[in-house]
Symmetry: D2
Amino acid sequence: MRKLNAAVVGATGIAGQQFLAALDGHPLFEVTAVAASQRSAGKHYLDAIRTPAGAVQWFCRESLPESCIGLRVEDAAAFDSTQVDIVFAALESEAARELEPRYARHVPVISTASAFRMEGDVPILVPGVNPGHIPLIRSMQQRRGWKGFVAPNPNCTAVGLVITLAPLQEAFGIRSVLVTSMQAVSGAGRAPGVVGLDIIDNVVPHISKEEAKVEAETRKVLGTLTDAGIAPAEFPVSATCTRVPVLEGHTECVNVSLRRPARPAEVKEAFVSFGREFTELRHHSSPRRMITVLEDTFRPQPRLDRDNEDGMTTTVGRLRECPVLPDGIKYVLVSHNTRMGAAKGAVLMAEELIRQGYIP
Amino acid sequence: MRKLNAAVVGATGIAGQQFLAALDGHPLFEVTAVAASQRSAGKHYLDAIRTPAGAVQWFCRESLPESCIGLRVEDAAAFDSTQVDIVFAALESEAARELEPRYARHVPVISTASAFRMEGDVPILVPGVNPGHIPLIRSMQQRRGWKGFVAPNPNCTAVGLVITLAPLQEAFGIRSVLVTSMQAVSGAGRAPGVVGLDIIDNVVPHISKEEAKVEAETRKVLGTLTDAGIAPAEFPVSATCTRVPVLEGHTECVNVSLRRPARPAEVKEAFVSFGREFTELRHHSSPRRMITVLEDTFRPQPRLDRDNEDGMTTTVGRLRECPVLPDGIKYVLVSHNTRMGAAKGAVLMAEELIRQGYIP
Amino acid sequence: MRKLNAAVVGATGIAGQQFLAALDGHPLFEVTAVAASQRSAGKHYLDAIRTPAGAVQWFCRESLPESCIGLRVEDAAAFDSTQVDIVFAALESEAARELEPRYARHVPVISTASAFRMEGDVPILVPGVNPGHIPLIRSMQQRRGWKGFVAPNPNCTAVGLVITLAPLQEAFGIRSVLVTSMQAVSGAGRAPGVVGLDIIDNVVPHISKEEAKVEAETRKVLGTLTDAGIAPAEFPVSATCTRVPVLEGHTECVNVSLRRPARPAEVKEAFVSFGREFTELRHHSSPRRMITVLEDTFRPQPRLDRDNEDGMTTTVGRLRECPVLPDGIKYVLVSHNTRMGAAKGAVLMAEELIRQGYIP
Amino acid sequence: MRKLNAAVVGATGIAGQQFLAALDGHPLFEVTAVAASQRSAGKHYLDAIRTPAGAVQWFCRESLPESCIGLRVEDAAAFDSTQVDIVFAALESEAARELEPRYARHVPVISTASAFRMEGDVPILVPGVNPGHIPLIRSMQQRRGWKGFVAPNPNCTAVGLVITLAPLQEAFGIRSVLVTSMQAVSGAGRAPGVVGLDIIDNVVPHISKEEAKVEAETRKVLGTLTDAGIAPAEFPVSATCTRVPVLEGHTECVNVSLRRPARPAEVKEAFVSFGREFTELRHHSSPRRMITVLEDTFRPQPRLDRDNEDGMTTTVGRLRECPVLPDGIKYVLVSHNTRMGAAKGAVLMAEELIRQGYIP
């Protein structure tokens, strides 16, 4: 099978670079176009990410893919999506709202932006978590008259949360969820990102709009597809989102009230066996296990566990009963916010959408 | 009034040094004796806190009190408490279990150790929070045949929690409490404390025994003194305690289910007006307000707010409704773990016990 | 004596705020005007430093001065300096180049900007270090036809360096200087400042233009005023400037080749006795000692020593011989980059200029 | 060829674990024995590195080698080295002084300890840097009557330094060296290591005994083997060693006075071409380039460059002239202190000693 031609839009930012890294050497996709703001347009990619002082601003652990260095950056606002088979979009929300529909008229748009997440005919897709929502894509296409579609992933904090809630919902049902996140600075990107002066020796107890996103998107991802669209899950979610001096990897302390009582051992079993059908598809970007459970009571830690399975598994520990919530359990999770939580998770989703025939 | 002669036991560690700093220039107490482990015994205080390489290990922001420099350190295990009017004890739990009763036979022992906190006839006293528990001291004295007593403060993480729960309990009643803490490294002391290699760019999601202490001590402090001792508060508490790369100041994300509904404005009013009778006593170590409420949605932050009122006020922000708990509210607090949360809070308690005639 | 009316220009940034804090309650100055960029013009000061999300961006340890809260921010570009007696300017270099001369036509301008530092008729003044350069102000006024003048302080890294080099130059002569700095993130300000993602768990071995400034300004400050202007000191300076994950306080490792041999004890004596005539003037913002020498071999440390004497003394330690440089010594210094190294140092300079009759 | 049986002594500490990681899957060595202090003796390795609370204290990025999990830890003090072909020793200096000679009586001991570095008949070997010192091993064996030998690597800070000085010495000659290091906390190990409370938001300007080691070992490594042993290099070295809040990777700011003038481009060429004969041997643990030169003026940075070539290359940047030293140049280097700077560098040395017939 020939590789699909892929464009990465918003290619100079952190999330865009993560797309480029995740697509480097990919068996199904070939990055044939990169686009960014007008400021970068016309430059070779390497020059577009150079500072005036000459520093190359490449933020991924992986090397800058050789194949990208010489690509000429196009203006995202003028980008013609018919020249590719798929667009991976890492745009700011406002730009996404305007540009993603233009691209989607012709080709699938896999997006890390929040712009369309809460639209009625748009599913928020998480690999292995809500395959039942995928068919909503067809309604979107019909309703909007698009050949392509927009498939946003959720907020990075919601990703680890829904991955661990999905097996609980399936096995025991969920009555309610409380989550306190300690989020890494990479989640804020770089322009301006979190200033060192604000975060060293500190915790910032608020991230703009984050809690509302986590609450709403979690319920939508775990909701049910009906004829009228996705009915959000009925359980309430209460989020407190904070920023901590950690580079990568979101830590989340989760309390869940289950619908039927479950011993920690049963919950652990639900975690461990979750998503096996999905991981057995052995998608290129897939972790071997959706959830990795650690017994060490001092784990998971973001620095030690964010890179488990190249950042694509969600690591869970400290599983125990919650003495407050009815049939309550609690646990701590670490999820890599710029791997499974962003671009590479979106690439994994694209791999599954190919398998199911939604792409191209 | 002549000052009371005070001993600081465990005087070389962080908490002991905080006692010395809090007592420096104090109008009611004069530190006339310091004691520590046998290793330090016989040395002048300044030499006792010097490393072999010559570095002076003094950890407080305040200068090392001149008056302490020349004091000869006594062996805590052999310390004769009859030579002082009061002992401020900052011992490890095991040493406290053995030594505090010996001291208490003769004089009051104000303690930061956990050893006696859960004894039936020992109150855990928090200034301004549970004055009703103070009379239990008399039972302790009678039952144990002591002239003095042991008055432990709670675990540092429980301190900020009970200070903010007390007004809620009084005004609205409490059904349940969930708390996730992000604790500073100073809480672990220095030997060995938290190793830099473990905490830089990281969160450690567990602190040994901490959660059980926070849960049990919170309920005891907010319980009711009966003839049979203190009946713990009936509401359950669920704690998740984590360590973050912050030097001082514990941050706590708190969710509370109230017994009767309250709007955030009412809750704020309860916070703001809490403890006025106590603060109006204008004790030497007292904050002007027990609780400081900030409207800025990005506050409280440990680095910016730990030193509010010299670390003696508890700073609260992000007050809002919790969509999960019945009549639920949530907020974030910052409490200075080595000021109000440890030695200086204990000194403030001693000031109140003097006023009430329990000391000397 | 009535207080002088002072304007703080660039009042919303870090350095401007430091000016406001340093001038709060000052016996000689009353802040009667604040100015900033057009974006802030017309707002009350408190509103000008509020983010869209409502957070008050006040960065000093001191409280926001009550007297500033209600001042209406003027447009720096249109600010009429005749309404005040003195301007404290904390502008970006480009804005300083344009605006400072306008203000200086009428009144003295005490500046933290680099714009005029290397002009031939402008001295770079450091309190207590180069009083001999002050008369150059008169030439500047005559040559430029200004009633006022521009008096810039040096780059924050040069401040601690020249303060410690001055006594060496005087007592022993200097042949050459090598310095490696480990600079705090606050030196970069906040827009954008140093991004947390760049500096956590890291060292950045370059700061744009910093090394050239340190080298040139150090030689100028320690130069000699001649009829032709200031002849820079003849010794070469070699600087390597790096950024480290420290909030405040620059650390500098200095190697100096002296003109005549000196034992460490003599060097120490030169440090300790330096600037006594100046500190005995007891200016409001003055430290009691220009240089504080610590014997503890693990000091100075930025976190422990930056706030010595409210950040106005330079703390030196690790004084020892350098086996490489002829008659070489080496030492480590910590200097508070946003106190003596910036606004408060500039205010101290203004106090001295009043005493000498240059202001008003 | 059958693999050599190797013992790792001091196997539970950081450096010992780095040995285990570096030897995992190694084509020439098979770890058949592990030894540690008496406290660990008799336990399975996995149990020996478990805390009382159950946490597995494994500190390497690589997984704990499966083959080590079940090895029974022997008592280092009683370890019989005749059962193996080679010992990799990661002992504290005092233990090394006593035990390494016992092992060396029978087999080669590759060591990270400082105990024997300054002995007259012991070379300090750095792969690719001082092959001319290797024959000294024969004198050691004869003089001491050992079948084996002790081959210590240098202090981790000296490693990157000598690797970059060697090509300068060869191409231009060296008159003198000044170095200021910013060292990572992992260099201090874990018991107690650097306490978080000391290093967060801080720089510690002294590391016990480090400067003397860097100065003396650098001169010895770059010295000349004569009949009377190794004559240290004649140039003086002046080191200032500091600790910064960085996890891994030492940064060093180096100033070198050359014997003959060299333009930066020539120096760069010397760096780039250094060690080609050695790297072309393609030893299992070898980097492809001994030195990697970066043009980006903001590099090298420890977080971004420590892992270049799996931590085995020394990354250099900011190469420029030094205006102070005669024919002076300066540069910044980053060297991975626990890879090339410790165990894995020692393993690479062992690979070369096999090739040259010194092992077994």
